[in-house]
C-alpha cells in the first residue's frame, strides 16, 4: 500500500497552543524545522502531536524535517559552540523550544581502542562509550531526554514506560529531575536489583501479574486511555530520534567524517536505523561530505530474529521467544526489525549473532583491553565485531566504531561466575611476598 502524494494539513487547535506559542516567541526559527509526522509505509502526514501509528495503514510514524531550512541554520561552528551534550545538535532534533529535560545527556567519549584493535587486527577501532551517559549510564538517556522534553512541550505532566531495565531507570531519573509524574510498568517476575534501580527515584512502579505479552498489551491499552506520555508508545516518533545523536557525535569526534563501518546492538532495531538516518542527515545538511558507512547489526543467538533473517537472506523476520543473558536486547518481535534489515542492505552492512558464552568472553575482553565494563549488550556488540573482523568483513585499515550502550555494573550477574575471586592473604608483608613471589626489599 503506498501513497506517494503526502496529504498536507494545518495544525488543529489544541489546548497546548498557547504554550507552544510562548515557545515560538522564544526561538522562532526552531519551530519551523519539524514539518510533520509521516507514515513510513504509506507516506500519509500528520501534525507533530502525540501519535505514533498511521490511522490509514497502521504503519509507524516518524518525524519529517525541513532540511532546506535546517541547512541554512546549522554549521560545524554552531555545533562546536553548543553545549557539551546532545543538545548541541538541537537543529536536527524533534523539539520546538529550549526548555530541555536531560541537559547533560550525550557527548560521551569516543575511545580509540588501540589495545582491542591490536587484538582483533583493526588499526582504527573506536568505542563509542555510552556506559558513562548521564544520568543513568546507558544510551537510553539520549532517547528519554528527547522524549520527555517533547512530552512537556506537548503539555504532558505524566510520563510512563514499560521496561525491564535501562529504559525504566532513565525515565524515572529524568522524570524526577523534571518534576513530572512517572509510571513504570514491569513484569511481575523481575529481579529485585532491577526494581530497586527504579524505586530509588520514587516513580510509581507497577508490577504486572503476567508475562511480557501481558505487559505489552496492557501498556498499549493504557496509552490509548490516559493522557500520559508513554515514551516508547505514543511519544515513540520523537523518542527514537534521540538515537541519531550517537551518529552525530561519532562524526564530530572523528573530525567531521563518517566511519567506514559501525557495529550496533539490536533490540527493536531502531538504534541501527537511526544511526544511519543521523549520518545521512548530516550529509543532507552539509555537515558531512559523504557517508560510505556500512551499518552492521549485532544480536544474541538467544534472541536473534533480525540477524537470523539477514543470514538467511530474508527481508522479513520470524518473531522468537527470547532466551539470552542479554536482557536489554531481548525483544522477540522487534518493531523496527524490517527497517533494520533494509538499512543493513542499503548500506552494504552485515548482521550476526553470538552465544551467551561469547557475550561473557567479549565483556571480559573489552574490560581487559580498554578498561570499559559494558553490560551484556556491549558483549553482543564486541562479540559480533570479533566475528566480522575474523570473516574479513571489516578491513584492518577501516575506521570502525562499536557502540557500547550500557554499563556493566547493571548486569554483574552475567559475569559474576567467570571473573575469578580475589587472592586472600594474611595481613603481613611476608604472606604478601610469599603469595606473589616478590623478594622483600631491605
Amino acid at each position: 500500500m503506498t501513497n506517494p502524494r503526502p496529504v498536507l494539513f494545518s495544525l488543529p487547535y489544541s489546548k497546548h497552543d498557547d504554550y507552544l506559542y510562548s515557545i515560538e516567541d522564544e526561538v522562532s526559527i526552531m519551530t519551523k524545522k519539524m514539518q510533520s509526522l509521516v507514515c513510513r509505509e504509506c507516506g500519509k502526514e500528520y501534525p507533530t502531536q502525540d501519535i505514533h501509528v498511521c490511522e490509514l495503514c497502521f504503519g509507524p510514524l516518524e518525524v519529517k524535517y525541513d532540511y532546506a531550512a535546517i541547512k541554512k541554520e546549522i554549521s560545524r561552528d554552531k555545533i562546536l559552540a553548543g553545549p557539551k551534550s546532545l543538545w548541541r545538535y538541537v537543529d536536527l532534533l524533534p523539539v520546538e523550544g529550549t526548555n530541555f529535560i536531560g541537559k547533560h545527556a550525550g557527548f560521551t567519549p569516543l575511545v580509540h581502542a588501540k589495545n582491542l584493535g591490536a587484538f582483533l587486527g583493526l588499526d582504527n577501532l573506536y568505542i563509542k562509550n555510552d556506559c558513562v551517559n548521564h544520568p543513568t549510564l546507558s544510551f537510553k538517556d539520549r532517547v528519554v531526554a528527547i522524549a520527555l522534553t517533547r512530552a512537556r512541550e506537548l503539555g504532558f505532566e505524566t510520563v510512563a514506560c514499560a521496561s525491564t531495565g535501562n529504559l525504566a531507570n532513565s525515565v524515572s531519573a529524568h522524570a524526577a529531575s523534571a518534576g513530572m509524574k512517572c509510571y513504570v510498568f514491569i513484569p511481575g517476575d523481575l529481579e529485585a536489583a532491577k526494581v530497586l534501580g527504579n524505586l530509588i527515584y520514587r516513580p510509581n512502579v507497577i508490577e504486572i501479574e503476567g508475562n511480557y505479552d501481558d505487559v505489552n498489551r496492557l501498556c498499549s491499552e493504557i496509552a490509548g486511555e490516559r493522557h500520559w506520555a508513554f515514551v516508547n508508545i505514543n511519544i515513540r516518533p520523537y523518542y527514537a530520534e534521540g538515537s541519531k545523536t550517537l551518529a552525530f557525535e561519532t562524526a564530530e569526534q572523528l573530525g567531521w567524517r563518517a566511519p567506514d563501518q559501525v557495529v550496533v546492538p539490536m533490540a527493536s532495531g531502531s538504534l541501527l536505523t537511526k544511526i544511519w538516518k543521523g549520518l545521512k542527515e548530516f550529509e543532507k545538511v552539509g555537515i558531512l561530505d559523504a557517508v560510505p558507512t556500512k551499518i552492521n547489526g549485532a544480536q544474541a543467538e538467544g534472541c536473534s530474529p533480525i540477524a537470523t533473517a539477514f543470514r538467511n537472506g530474508r527481508d522479513f523476520f520470524k518473531p522468537v521467544k527470547p532466551d539470552t543473558i542479554a536482557k536489554s536486547l531481548a525483544i522477540g518481535n522487534p518493531a523496527d526489525g524490517y527497517y533494520a534489515l533494509k538499512t543493513a542492505a542499503e548500506s552494504h552492512g552485515a548482521m550476526d549473532a553470538v552465544t551467551d558464552d561469547e557475550i561473557v568472553e567479549s565483556i571480559k575482553l573489552l574490560a581487559q583491553t580498554e578498561g570499559i565494563f559494558a553490560e551484556t549488550a556491549g558483549g553482543v556488540t564486541i562479540g559480533v565485531l570479533r566475528k566480522l573482523a575474523k570473516q574479513g568483513l571489516i578491513r584492518k585499515d577501516e575506521v570502525t566504531v562499536a557502540y557500547i550502550t550500557g554499563n556493566g555494573l547493571k548486569t554483574q550477574e552475567a559475569v559474576v561466575d567467570s571473573v575469578g575471586r580475589p587472592t586472600r592473604i594474611q595481613p603481613s608483608l611476608k604472606h604478601f611476598t610469599q603469595t606473589f613471589g616478590i623478594e622483600e626489599s631491605t
Binding site: G59, N216, S220, I233, S268, P319, N333, P334, A335
Partner: protein, 79 residues
C-alpha cells in the same frame, strides 16, 4: 463500540485457513485489515476490530485458540 488494533501472526500450518472470516462469524466483531504480508511459510496482518470491548477480548482468545499470536499494533513495547 470500541476500535482496537492488533498485529496478528499466523502459524505456517494455518496460513491457508480463512481465520479472520471465521472470527467474524463466531464473534460480534468487525475486522478491518489495514496491512498484511502473507507468504508460503509466514503471515501477518495488522487488523482493527470494531465491537464491544468484551467481545473483542473473546475474539482475541478465539484467535489464540486457533494458533495465532496476537500482539498490540506497537509489537513489543517492553524495553
Amino acid at each position: 463500540m470500541a476500535k482496537l488494533r492488533f498485529h496478528i501472526r499466523y502459524p505456517e500450518e494455518r496460513i491457508p485457513d480463512p481465520i479472520l472470516y471465521q472470527i467474524g462469524k463466531e464473534f460480534q466483531v468487525i475486522p478491518s485489515i489495514r496491512r498484511a504480508d502473507v507468504r508460503e511459510t509466514t503471515g501477518w496482518m495488522d487488523v482493527e476490530f470494531t465491537g464491544e470491548t468484551d467481545e473483542i477480548d473473546r475474539a482475541i482468545v478465539g484467535l489464540r485458540e486457533k494458533g495465532c499470536i496476537v500482539d498490540p499494533i506497537e509489537l513489543n513495547v517492553v524495553e
